[in-house]
Symmetry: C2
Subunit: 402 residues, 2 copies
């Protein structure tokens, strides 16, 4: 029997790329050609020239997303460059189609310069209704996303928000199972890259416009490879400095293990095999463990349970409670694009958190997060995000089913 990795290689070679671009309409004769191309095509062109919003009616724009990467932070592989990132972006395009019927196309950029990436995305934006930033290393990814928020279409860095959204949905249900109030949780996040920082921000509802749906966790401590991030650390990048505005209010110093003492929740977005059962034993009662490093979690479930964990989630598809971004991004883009939202607000992200969490009526230890292949999730998320977008931005005159 061949293993998964050999099989994946053979499949990719056989397919020569995982997506196809196909016409929605056949060209059987000269009349067909005259309608889809010259001279008939001039009519929608003229209409769009008159009113640019009509591009949403006459072109693919309204249902098309660019998956943009520079290949600097791909999966667990790191900086492998734009060409080598292509299979991941094509895979993501499959997921956009599979879960939300969105056309997505990989744009792999042969530059790592922030200004150039921002300018390139601005330049290619006309064909797209949304931009999904992917696998771009932090902190450049934060800057790129921030600088593109005025583009007029949603620009969303999935490695940050996608993970954060699914983690918070799981945390919400996990707290229910152990009978704790999310607001009272003492949370330790290990990893201060894109995902770790985004999780911290959402837990504190930083930049939040709508208090209603908010989960403002009071105590958060973030660690990186050097231990707890505190005010006296030297050489912190701007994103880590920003974190200190809403985490570690007591300015605790020490290691990850120091941080864990009496904590209710551990969220690892770092690397495998960091913790042992004895570390979990130091935590508060019924600790909740999210070990999301892939393929090896920060702590394996059996080891965590040995230390007294109440609930364990990982990033792995072969274990219960898989945190997988695919529960988030397809429905988020679908909802935002159907509402013609110019951006994805924190309130829209929180709407997605609650929609995902509510896909499970009665959460249990082995089911705090819906299954990755549950088709209902994306549509629930899309509805919630669209409704919130309409609250945030009003009904758009051209918004309708795409």
């Amino acid at each position: 029997m061949i293993d998964l990795f050999s099989e994946a290689l053979i499949l990719h070679k056989r397919l020569r790329g995982k997506i196809n671009i196909i016409p929605k309409v056949e060209v059987r004769n000269i009349n067909d050609l005259s309608l889809v191309y010259s001279p008939g095509v001039a009519e929608p062109c003229k209409e769009i020239a008159r009113d640019p919003e009509l591009a949403y009616q006459y072109t693919i724009k309204g249902n098309t997303v660019a998956i943009v990467s520079d290949g600097t932070a791909v999966l667990g592989l790191g900086d492998i460059g734009p060409l080598a990132a292509m299979p991941v972006m094509e895979g993501k395009a499959i997921l956009f189609k599979r879960f939300a019927n969105i056309n997505a196309f990989p744009i792999c950029l042969d530059t790592t310069d922030v200004d150039e990436i921002v300018q390139t995305i601005r330049n290619i934006a006309p064909a797209f209704g949304g931009i999904n930033l992917e696998d771009i290393s932090a902190p450049r990814s934060f800057i790129i996303e921030q600088r593109l928020q005025d583009l007029g279409i949603p620009v969303f860095h999935d490695d940050q928000h996608g993970t954060a959204i699914v983690v918070l949905a799981g945390l919400y249900n996990a707290a229910k199972v152990v009978g704790k109030d999310v607001k009272d949780l003492k949370v330790v996040i290990n990893g201060a890259g894109a995902a770790g920082i985004a999780i911290a921000k959402m837990l504190r509802c930083v930049d939040h416009m709508n208090q209603e749906a908010c989960i403002p966790v009071k105590q958060i401590t973030v660690c990186d490879s050097k231990g707890i991030i505190h005010r006296d650390r030297k050489n912190l990048n701007f994103a880590k400095k920003e974190l200190l505005g809403f985490t570690n209010f007591d300015n605790q110093v020490g290691s990850l293990k120091d941080a864990l003492v009496n904590a209710d929740v551990f969220i690892g977005v770092s690397k495998g095999d960091l913790l042992k059962a004895k570390d979990i034993e130091t935590m508060a009662t019924d600790p909740i463990i999210f070990g999301l490093a892939n393929p090896t979690p920060e702590i394996m479930p059996e080891e965590a349970y040995k230390g007294g964990a109440a609930i364990v989630a990982t990033g792995r598809s072969d274990l219960p409670n898989q945190v997988n971004n695919v529960l988030g991004f397809p429905g988020i883009f679908r909802g935002a694009m159907e509402a013609r939202a110019p951006k994805i607000t924190t309130a829209m992200k929180l709407a997605a958190v609650h929609a995902i969490a509510e896909c499970i009526k009665f959460p249990t230890v082995s089911e705090i997060i819906p299954s990755t292949l549950n088709d209902r999730v994306a549509y629930k998320v899309a509805e919630a995000v669209k409704a919130q977008a309409i609250k945030d931005f009003g009904e758009h005159k051209y918004a309708e089913g795409i």
Copy 2:
């Protein structure tokens, strides 16, 4: 009955864009997901990181073309901008698929700056095996194409070479029909935009590497809206100055009508309704008339025949001898990409010219150019272009059927 233009508008609105991006493989279960996405996808990523050429084996690159436009010179509509150009680029994507099974995606650029366009195309190149430049106004289009010839993948400005290739194929057959030698023809080109200049260059085999297939027409005169382009004209742009290196050797001055006297061939890539029967009467015996302005030709066939024309071609699908780029670009990209050619040489273009011409065994007055919907043309062109590419660049180690 509704007219073509209303029907085109309704069709575009109903379709909401004319292309779809679809997975080549289904995601039915977690195992499928593990193969096309994480964790299995890491294998082809690692392979490509090791050897970038393997992107042609494991990704869509080898069979994917970007159709790049800034919307400055769209059809007969002029500078309508990148959004309004989208329907044309989507239509072109349909033709790439229909005739050569190539995946093509519209990249409509929100900038008209030459440096930015060049840089943006360089930045997005990893996902593509070829770049089709489209509807970018001259002379910027020449500079952009020229500056991108070192990109390592074919960069082809279809408005220049596509039209030139099909015109020359038709001219080759037309000369056969009237019993003249192409080399002896006195040719007048009206219009010194992208197409006019490219036609002149190919007639003179400028930059040609391989004399064998060449058609070096001796006498060419090019006119623009101010008349014959000659050495004493002021304020000529660089492209028109370059033309004078291989046209109008006698430095003839005067109007288009002066140029036509005793000419064998008129090629109009300008605007409608310029000529009358009496202008054709001043030409040499059996004149060949290509009136390619759309939708109204420089002279309608019946008027040209009244003036003594032997053969007339237009750009219109409802008249005989339609010059349509679709006879060229699908097969040219297919052949170049199958051979993994780093660029499209003049010899490859001439191979396309002869392949198109030879699709008609016995040319007649009413058939010097194959029908636009003749499926054999693209494959004949692809074979010829691929064979020439292998002559020009050698067998590529990864070149094989895509």
